[in-house]
Symmetry: C2
Subunit: 230 residues, 2 copies
Amino acid sequence: MERQRRIPEATVARLPVYLRTLLEVQTDGVTTISSERLAELAGVNAAKVRKDLSYLGSFGTRGVGYDVDHLLVQMSRELGLTRDWPVAIVGVGNLGAALANYGGFGDRGFPVAALIDADPTKVGTTFGGHTIRHLDDLPALVDELGIAIGIIATPAAGAQEVADRLVAAGVTSILNFAPAVVTVPAQATLRKVDLALELQVLSFYGQRDSIGSSLREELGVTAEAKNSAV
Amino acid sequence: MERQRRIPEATVARLPVYLRTLLEVQTDGVTTISSERLAELAGVNAAKVRKDLSYLGSFGTRGVGYDVDHLLVQMSRELGLTRDWPVAIVGVGNLGAALANYGGFGDRGFPVAALIDADPTKVGTTFGGHTIRHLDDLPALVDELGIAIGIIATPAAGAQEVADRLVAAGVTSILNFAPAVVTVPAQATLRKVDLALELQVLSFYGQRDSIGSSLREELGVTAEAKNSAV
DNA sequence: CCGACCTTGTTCTCTTGTTCACAAAGTGCC
DNA sequence: GGCACTTTGTGAACAAGAGAACAAGGTCGG
């Protein structure tokens, strides 16, 4: 399959899981790992692991497995994690503030570089080491700080406008937490995290469960289907 | 398709989006909606909308469209949203605290009924109107409060144990925010929200974009693939 | 140097999901 | 009451993804 360059969407979404898993085993001193073992740790099928890794033009060694360090280098490069990507959080309400405080971003190469809000009473105040800037300053901030990713944490009503402004300012990667449908032009990439949606999906399957397991098979609700998001 | 009862996973994940959209148009006084219009508002294909709704045993009216109220009733029932589902948040760190404060859950029928932590210095303190309880109290809390859904907001290291304890206490719906692979028995439903993963996926496509749009077509990175998570 | 053993890379098949296209069904004007 | 028009419901083609299975390739003991 010599270094093929079209990586399927589903594979891209699994690479970060492999990456995290490999980092863990690396700190345990493991230097080589088989697809079987990696699959077990990552919670997926071994054949899938091998197929996914083969897209990286991977060099596993038959009979042995994959070199952990080498795999980490390849994967980091493929995911573009060899550099930091500064993030701007737009909307410093409950959720935005929480995300700003959440250390998990900076640790993983996504430093929070700016907090942005449209509310004049918030602009100028300091939060978690950042002075909140006005949405109108967005283009300047993108230039100054090299913002690569925008996180929308506004109420639903403002989400589309924020997305439009982010794109206009040159930010082409957007993560939307607002419970609203947002569209962006083709050159931009948008992903969403919808907390209420997740709970509602759980509600669907949870309700099904409570009608009794004897019926479940008949209704066709299988364990695989229920857990497919993981 | 007379009232068929196997609803595909992909459809289940879209029902909440339709639901939200319908609630919006309902407040605008709209009583009837076509699949075309609903598709536009929900950001999906019209044929997909019709097929999804047909799984509800839906009664649209040809030549007219769907009755908004009726659709909302059917959909709420199907998703199990005719009652509240009390939620327990396990892990009151940065993220857990944020989720506890986030009003979006209670509003949508998922009241936060308990905050749980394993840290003795946190147990007994009050946060957002809730006294933080110890993880050991979980079974009692499930019985007392009818906890239906558990949210894991602990560090990665503790996630699996919390999941095990939730399942043991009778909670079969789990939403995992911890950056760790968690597995549950088949009778339980697990979904995950992985913030770092989302950013890493954005990084992948963002990096691709920066090599120039002329190459993009050749590399096969299409707008559809990039936006498929939305 | 050879053979037993192990693990990868890849092909093939099956399942799931998406989209098109069109017949069926109902509305409302004339 | 009939006809033109609209929109649904669904069959069928197509695309994407998952997983089983196996040949190819490499290791390591003897």
